[in-house]
Subunit: 155 residues, 2 copies
């Protein structure tokens, strides 16, 4: 799933003939995601969707966590995570082991193959931000971030 569907929001705004900012946000998001997938493909990684990447990125930060934890970290539904992890296991990016503390759950851990993606992810992310922020001053970037935070906290 790409990040921004061209949203209901955006077209509401077109109707209003007012602010189309959220429209642009949607576009940014979709373009960025496309760029990410495209970059991954260049590195020969063609079997991952954005949410798979989210899981891997979460595991880079903290390896061996429960599905529940992953679901919360990537803001996905439990059942979605089940399927996502299933594919990652199949592709040998992660494996699951028993959770001694709670037998209802297992711990999802990176394989060596999974771990080897970390640097690639970092490169791709850096490139993305370089693209996004090209031509923006550090002040503008900081300001953008602050505004995004404020808006985020309004919901």
């Amino acid at each position: 799933m790409f990040l921004f569907a061209y949203s209901l929001i955006s077209n509401y705004n077109i109707v209003m003939k007012t602010d189309n900012t959220f429209n642009l946000l949607a576009r940014i998001h979709e373009k960025a995601n496309k760029k990410l997938i495209s970059s991954l493909n260049e590195y020969g990684i063609t079997d991952l969707a954005p949410s798979h990447g989210d899981i891997l990125a979460a595991l880079f930060k903290k390896d061996c966590v429960t599905m529940m934890s992953i679901a919360q970290l990537i803001h996905r539904d439990k059942s979605t995570v089940t399927q996502l992890v299933k594919k990652l296991v199949k592709k040998n990016y992660v494996f699951c082991k028993d959770n001694p503390q709670d037998h209802r759950s297992s711990l999802v851990c990176l394989t060596d193959k999974g771990k080897s993606l970390k640097e690639i992810f970092q490169k791709i992310s850096r490139e993305l931000y370089e693209t996004a922020y090209d031509g923006l001053t550090p002040n503008e970037i900081a300001n953008f971030h602050q505004l995004v935070e404020k808006i985020h906290n309004n919901f």
Copy 2:
């Protein structure tokens, strides 16, 4: 589809321990979409997804257009639009008529039921922006918009 999947982008940034701005964008988008769907439900409209709303909003602006046109306006694939319009027809929000200028296509037009949604959409959109921009000065809003435009144009 909700607007922002919690994206690959966001977690790349977590890995980098740097900017999580795109992470927040994703969150904003998802929250906004949830609010929109929730608002629609309050008005008794429970059978529309965001992309359906995008189509309706596009038709509010210009009624009776081709599927191709809709696909371009809402940034969706042709095959997606086929299915989306099919549902809107079934729910009697739109109808299709022959396009005398090109017999490969038909014109998608709003029904009266569809047209009656315009005010509701406007109200909902206004409420959304009021929420999003609560506590922001007009200057901040304008600034945000400019920055969003710059970033959008970088892709």
